[in-house]
Symmetry: none
Subunit: 205 residues, 4 copies
DNA sequence: GATGAATGAGTCTTCATTCAT
DNA sequence: AATGAATGAAGACTCATTCAT
């Protein structure tokens, strides 16, 4: 077989990644054997190993791909004009996560939990995830800055970073909670945040 | 041979669990071998297996123990009188998690991430965790109810459940964020929540 | 199973080594699979690996054992009194090698050739062999010294080291030649050496 | 496609053989993969396989080529006129081996050790080597005959074959010793042989 | 009760060789 | 003629668990 075209290569890669994703989800990262993935991909062991260097390389690729996919879906929310409100942004992001998780049987939340666990062992994976979340948090902080600047009152004491960390916590916590307990819908959090505001500032009305 | 006393049995159990915890933390759940635990515990293979039925039983016990320990530490915060404020409660809980994680080299957050991943494979573990978080959330909901009832205005439209889910998200998200990114301190979240309140209700002052 | 006795341990070790030796001989070092050895030893994979750390550890042990065995057999020749003559020593050593090779189907010469090849890849093995041959050559040099001192004429210009190197070459060359060509018997070399002496010093009679 | 010329074919063959030799030397026979050789040769897998039928064919060719090369270099020593003396011949041959080994990073001695080990598995290789050494020994025997005939005294009891076997042992032993121990130079052996003669025939002076 | 040697199915990965293009 | 992607049968080694002593 002569040199394969780039599209074909990419398609094969996707095919393997796809198989891996499905297996990881169904069985967990470690319980999935390379043989599972190989069989699911419909290729041979050698072929799979010619596209990915090792099982952990495959894990890394699977997680990275998920993260990128999510990233692409979420990006528009940050560039919306006018800037979304706090509750709106939170709701839209969690909705995106939930929707991304529902399609095709892929569950981003499961992948996330699996990946976080793996993160404790795999240096590269941890670095990758760290980078992703950091970039995501930076976008949240930037949005927080816009909220702050557009606020009528003087809100100079507000820390965009703290706001970003809080929002990210809400999102990550949503992932955990919905993956393990399964009874949290996206709107719960924005409603809850609203409620907290009202409880917190009772004399405001 | 004579039966050993109950205290001795309990001590042995703790000794093994301790060894397991240390190993799990250092190596991850799957990368830790029974042999690692056996050696770390200073007992024999047979002895360890007479206290725990299997590796997953050991994982379950280790996670359960961690959770119970944390639970005991957090409980007083819910029965404090007068009831803690939202920010105060959040700060105190995340502080407890962080402090619990810092001692002895045990890191509750790592165990949590590891356990969440395992949860996807181990039915029993998932049920256990689910139960724990459900109970925890119930306490949060109850506290939310108190906040609501003590509020001067009529806040009947507030859902205690939504508030609880939101608070739990914040806490779980704190665990993830600090385990993976490592740059989030407990106070960040309560400050961030404060900031969000101010951003959200600008005309309230 | 409680702690096994030292003799039993040694016996098991020997049993495995024995199996390995037989396989290595029949198939070569690399063509022998661990499974071959495991089956031949009558033990399980785990058992074999509890006695030897790896295949190359097994190779090293097999070679070392052969070398030690030969060493023990040859030692008396060096402490013989009176000191053996050149031809006698050479003949007795090569005879020992040949005899050692004939018993039980073990062939020291094959093991030697196999080991030498492996030596090019395995640092530890090379060091071990190097050490063994160096010690052996030292004994040859010492014997050469005795020959020199007992000689009636002044032979101060003789280098014990060169003599030792030459004798070792003859012995190693015997191993190669008899392993590959198979038609060299021990006596050939001492006769040939004799002949060379006569050819070399024709005017000596 | 047009047939390529014979010279081109020969050049390609040499190119592959060259690559193989380099790899074998660096890594050993078994540790070298066909892929190593393919990459080193700069050709494609298919191309390499169109010149050599298999890996063992390549090994055989590599060894044969080395042997032939050495043979060509040594041949003149046998046809020298007048016939070289024993010590001279030995020194010149070992020097040739050493020199052949030093050039370009090729080490004939390593190849020899590697090949001898392989000989135990590969029938064809053993036969080839056997033939080569037999031819070489025949030349040594012929030279021994000349020494014998030219000797002033009656040396009819001398066996040319034994002399040849002894000389071949010295040469092969030199290869082993210098490959594994690395501290034997060509002159050592002829000096050592001289010394042995003097020790052996002390009353000859 | 306790021990720790033994089990053996299962894991990841490699690599000589082929053959469709 | 040439390419190089694909094959898939091994290979070395691990490890949760058991059970004879």
């Amino acid at each position: 077989m002569p040199k394969i075209s780039d599209e074909k290569r990419a398609a094969r890669r996707a095919q393997i990644l796809n198989a891996a994703w499905t297996c990881f989800q169904k069985e967990g990262l470690h319980a999935t054997t390379m043989d599972d993935i190989i069989r699911a991909s419909g290729l041979s062991a050698g072929a799979v190993y010619s596209y990915f260097p090792s099982k952990s390389g495959l894990i890394l690729a699977a997680v990275t791909t998920s993260l990128s996919g999510l990233s692409a879906l979420v990006a528009p929310l940050f560039s919306a004009s006018p800037t979304l409100s706090q509750g709106e942004l939170l709701r839209r992001i969690t909705e995106t996560v939930a929707r991304f998780s529902a399609r095709d049987g892929y569950d981003l939340r499961r992948i996330a939990l699996l990946g976080w666990g793996e993160t404790q062992r795999d240096e590269t994976l941890r670095a990758t995830m760290n980078g992703f979340y950091r970039a995501f948090r930076a976008q949240l902080a930037q949005t927080a800055g816009e909220w702050r600047r557009r606020a009528p009152n003087n809100l100079d004491t507000i820390s965009d970073d703290d706001v970003a960390k809080t929002l990210l916590s809400l999102i990550l916590g949503f992932v955990v909670q919905s993956a393990i307990m399964g009874d949290v819908e996206p709107a719960s959090l924005s409603r809850g945040l609203d409620d907290l505001v009202r409880l917190r500032a009772p004399d405001s009305v």
